[in-house]
Amino acid sequence: MSATAVLQAPLRRKSRLGGRVRIAAGLVACLIFLFPVFWMVLSSFKDQRDIFTVPPTLFFTPTLETYFGFMQRADITRRLINTIIVATGSGLLSIAAGAMAGYALARIRLKGAGTIGVLILLSRGVPPIALAVPMFLVARSLGVTDKHITLILAYCTFLIPYVMWLMRGFFLALPRELEESAMIDGCSRFGAFFKIILPISLPGLLSTLIFSMILAWEELLFALVLTNRYASTIPVAIAGIAGDTVNGANWGALTAVGTITVVPVVIFALLVQKWLIQGLADGATKG
């Protein structure tokens, strides 16, 4: 009996049928939510003829045509590499800066830490479009548009506050004695943080890092504004395909590139699903 039993205890008393109906309804909901992803992956293996048919086909001869055709045309590979660079770079940078700042908020008495905390929370409400215009103008005058580092720093604007807040909650939950005893033993503040606190926070750090990388991986607005050819990412390509009104709906390209974008993230997310769910729950309750 787990804690959920509380909610179904009355149901069980009524009948076992109630529980079955509930499970079935839950399963149906799950399948409905999975269907679009399934449909995208399935359609990516269809040729044009099989995509544009009524009724929609479930059985067809699978082909990799769209993958090969499209990968060559729109230099998707380069965009993929760009997206990986930017997601990894901004993920690592924001976890490093964010975890330290989160620790400072949680444990080190700083004058004005409370104000900083409120500012960070509020900053999560800043609409990215309010940053995109000046960032574009500044990047343009400095000549740093279309560079990976620009995008990495731009992504830090939403990743660092997120990491900071999440890690702050994580550090608050750790027993204070940990660093206190380390510092009595002669550790500096940095020593205590890097040698004692970081190793035990590894699960939290890792799930936060993964989540940050996913957020960076999906980002569209800054990528649209700050890059054009050299450092452009996958979401920009997808926006281009989806919004291509000249050639009409190129669903083959859309589903193929969509699948390439989504599948690695899904695999990654499912591998660490336990931590991810925990991180989400913490992010909402402690955030």
Binding site: T4, Q8, P36, V138, C156
Partner: protein
């Protein structure tokens, strides 16, 4: 260990002020990297936006040249397209957020039934959540296509006339809400499952012994206990939803006739297509202030709810 011991040893001979200074430096050193990046990339751009919003923007030199006071704001507030975008955004928020919260908690209740597949089902709900919003917009555009889409085919099977999802203003807004709900409900489901699992068991057992029925338990025990987490989930979703951009761009591009032109998309178009940087900056500031105020109110509200429990 040796290095830290050495560092501690070094500190001893120094004077008290030096020690205190070193201490302050080591305190602030933790905050410094984040503070510097955020100051340069977050605070500075906001001030620059404010400056542009009060200036005439010269497209030759690509900079703010002369102070014009509230002129840009007056232009913007006079522009019916701005108000229509604000209205579109409001409609989207009013429909999407409650729908996602209710659906999310409802589905969480369903899948939390005790059975073998529970963990698997919960894990599967991660999948829609990590689909990039722009991809979500794109694939739903295919699924809802009036001619070839599978949804209209199903509607036809049920004996109804096909719906023109992206041609009719109301249906296009419905489509945006559906897509957004599809993308974000799983997020609420995952938070809600954790919240439901964390509910204290003994209260329910006691209530059951007292003869409380299912409905009154839900209404007078479960919901009140869940109120803080529902409020927190709402705030997190609000923070995401006010940034709505990707899905609208990929699915409808604001169409038909601006019916789904959410404010972020409108500002983006005004700035980067029409090159009206000053007006876009003014709009961005208006949106920024509104979001900040509302976010502040919501955060204050959640704090109060948490303290009450």
């Amino acid at each position: 260990m040796t290095t830290t011991a050495a560092m501690a040893g070094e500190r001893k001979p120094r004077s008290r002020t030096a020690t205190r200074l070193a201490d302050a430096v080591s305190r602030w050193a933790f905050m410094a990297p984040a503070a510097i990046i955020l100051a340069a990339m977050l605070a500075y751009p906001i001030f620059y936006t404010i400056e542009i919003s009060f200036s005439r923007f010269d497209l030759m030199t690509f900079s703010a040249v002369e102070w014009v006071g509230w002129q840009n704001y007056a232009h913007v507030l006079d522009d019916y397209r701005f108000w229509s975008s604000m209205k579109v955004t409001l409609v989207y928020l009013v429909f999407a957020l409650p729908l996602q919260i209710v659906l999310g908690f409802g589905i969480a209740f369903l899948i939390n039934a005790e059975w073998r597949g529970r963990g698997l089902v919960r894990a599967l709900f991660i999948i829609p959540m990590v689909v990039a919003p722009v991809v979500a917009g794109g694939i739903w555009r295919m699924i809802l296509d009036p001619l070839w889409g599978i949804v209209n085919w199903l509607i036809g099977l049920a004996g109804f006339a096909p719906l023109d999802w992206f041609g009719d203003p109301t249906l296009a807004m419905a489509a945006i809400v559906i897509i957004d709900t599809w993308r974000w409900t799983p997020f609420v489901v995952l938070i809600a499952t954790a919240a439901l699992l964390a509910l204290p068991r003994d209260i329910f057992e006691a209530a059951e012994i007292d003869g409380a029925n299912w409905w009154s338990m839900l209404w007078s025990i479960t919901l009140p206990l869940l109120v803080p987490i529902i409020a927190a989930t709402f705030v997190v979703r609000w923070l995401g939803a006010v940034k709505m951009f990707d899905i609208a761009l990929a699915a409808t591009y604001g169409g038909p006739g601006g019916a789904t032109n959410v404010i972020n998309l409108f500002i983006y178009e005004e700035a980067f297509r029409s090159l009206h940087f000053a007006e876009s900056a003014a709009m961005a500031v208006v949106v920024l202030v509104l979001t900040m105020v509302l976010t502040g109110i919501f955060l204050y509200g959640t704090r109060k709810l948490e303290e009450r429990n």
